[in-house]
Every structure is written in structure tokens, then in C-alpha cells.
Symmetry: C2
Subunit: 155 residues, 2 copies
């Protein structure tokens, strides 16, 4: 079991794009219950099953297992709740940390979320100049909630 500690921001400019290479993600949920989410994800040619507990502060219990890509594709196509989330993830190094910027497609097109994973809740973070509003802990931005209430419904 790992504990995930992360902070989330909405980019206020497109400067994060400079030189960043993206990987296509496709993910769906077998459970979107916030106390026990179960996610199926393909990332490039890899696939994972990930279980997360309830968020407490900025932390969350997480269990992740690699699974066959064929299994993940079949679960995404046949078992997961609709819609499936599709996005391109860019990894950007800044201030000694890796930022992941997710650019969503489909029903969440227009939404971009930047996340940085930390070792402790009080770790100092040097924000990149493109980082805008912080949305850590805002449940609307949980990927599991972008299924029941996608970004296209927010406006």
C-alpha cells in the first residue's frame, strides 16, 4: 500500500506545453464510491488496476497492480461506467519535482489539471509560473467525479 499525497492546480497559461511529450491515457471506473474507487487505466501500451481509499487531507491510500492490456481494454469497453475518461498526460520537471499535466478530451474537453505528487503534506513546492488556481481537495476535479459530472456540464 502506498499513500498518495498530491496538490492540484489549474494552469493559467499554456506555457507548460513547451517541449512536453504526451502519453495517451484511457481510464474508466468499476467503482466511483469515494471511499473505495476502482480504476482501470491504459497508459500508452501498459495497463493498471488501481484502488484508492477516501481522501483525508491531501493523502489517500492507494493500491496499484499491473494487468494485461487486453483485460483492461475489454473492461474499459464492456464493464466500466460510462463515459470513459480520455486524456493526454504530459510530464514536466520543475523545481526538482515532476508535474503531471492532464489535458482531457471527450466530455471533459477544455479541462486541464496539473498535479504534483509530494512525500509529505507540508513539503514546500516551488510553483511553476503557469500554475493558477489551486484545486486540491475539490471533489469536482477527482477523475472519478468527471464521469458523473463532466466538465462540459459545469458551464
Amino acid at each position: 500500500m502506498a499513500t498518495e499525497i498530491e496538490r492540484k492546480f489549474i494552469p493559467r497559461t499554456d506555457n507548460w506545453r513547451d517541449g512536453a511529450g504526451g502519453v495517451r491515457y484511457r481510464q474508466g471506473y468499476l467503482s466511483t464510491d469515494s471511499e473505495r474507487t476502482v480504476r482501470v487505466r491504459t497508459a500508452g501500451d501498459k495497463a493498471f488496476l488501481t484502488i484508492k481509499g477516501k481522501t483525508v487531507g491531501a493523502s489517500r491510500a492507494e493500491y496499484e497492480y499491473a494487468i494485461p492490456r487486453d483485460d483492461a481494454d475489454a473492461m474499459l469497453d464492456q464493464l466500466c461506467r460510462r463515459p470513459i475518461i480520455e486524456k493526454v498526460r504530459y510530464k514536466i520537471s520543475h523545481g526538482g519535482l515532476i508535474w503531471e499535466v492532464d489535458e482531457f478530451e471527450g466530455e471533459n474537453a477544455g479541462l486541464v489539471i496539473a498535479e504534483v505528487e509530494l512525500s509529505s503534506e507540508d513539503q514546500a513546492v516551488e510553483l511553476p509560473d503557469w500554475a493558477g488556481q489551486e484545486v486540491t481537495g475539490d471533489p469536482r476535479y477527482y477523475n472519478a467525479n468527471l464521469i458523473s459530472n463532466p466538465y462540459s456540464n459545469w458551464k
Copy 2:
């Protein structure tokens, strides 16, 4: 992906016990949604994560992955829906097939279910003399439903 085809019966006598050795199972659910159940199970010293789709006839899509026993114990203790199902499973050979007889404990104490796994839905099955009422397809007997509506509530 495997497809699970099984028939279920309630034993009408205790004759199935003759010489059968049992293994303790502890299992809980991260999703009890019948279209996408997610089960955490420990069986003796092994542990598995199992995803099942909707039952169509006697068949059901199934994906199963071995996971570390420590992860399973932590998920059963902290993440799974209450109550956890505890049972002892006995494997009994009869007529060239393996029957699994589950004797439940806790909130489902008193319930015994015998299952036989088949290669096809129309496979002939030689019933043991202790097999009573068939309950294949009856949702009350799905393990996932024995959490929301345990056997102790049926009477």
C-alpha cells in the same frame, strides 16, 4: 478474461461433509454493483482481486489477479463494504466434477451453498445425492448480495 459458468444448489443433507477438508475464506467488496462487482478475497494464505461482469444466463465475465496478502488484509479491514463475508470452502469431487461447498459464518451463519463450475451452459451434471434445491441465477445467493441482505435477515 475467463467466462464463469456455474450452477448453485442448497444441500438438503449434511452428507457432503464426509471427508471434506475446508479452507477459510474472507472476502469483501469494493463494488457490489451487479454489472461490475469487485471482490477482495483471502483463501488460506493466498489473496486475489476479482472483477465480474453482469450474469447473463449462467455465464459471467471474470478477471482475477493474485495480489499480496498484506494488501488484501488491509483492504478487507479498511476499504471494503461492511460486513465482510467469512466462510469455509470445502472441495468435493463427484461425477468427474469439483463441487465447492461454502459454509458461511457471521451474519450469514446457517447458509450453505454448493456450486459446480461447468465448461458450457448445457453440460450434463450428475447431481450428488445431497444436492437439494437449485438456486442458480437467484440474486439473493450472490455473495455480493449477502452483504446488503445477509442470510440472518431472510427469516
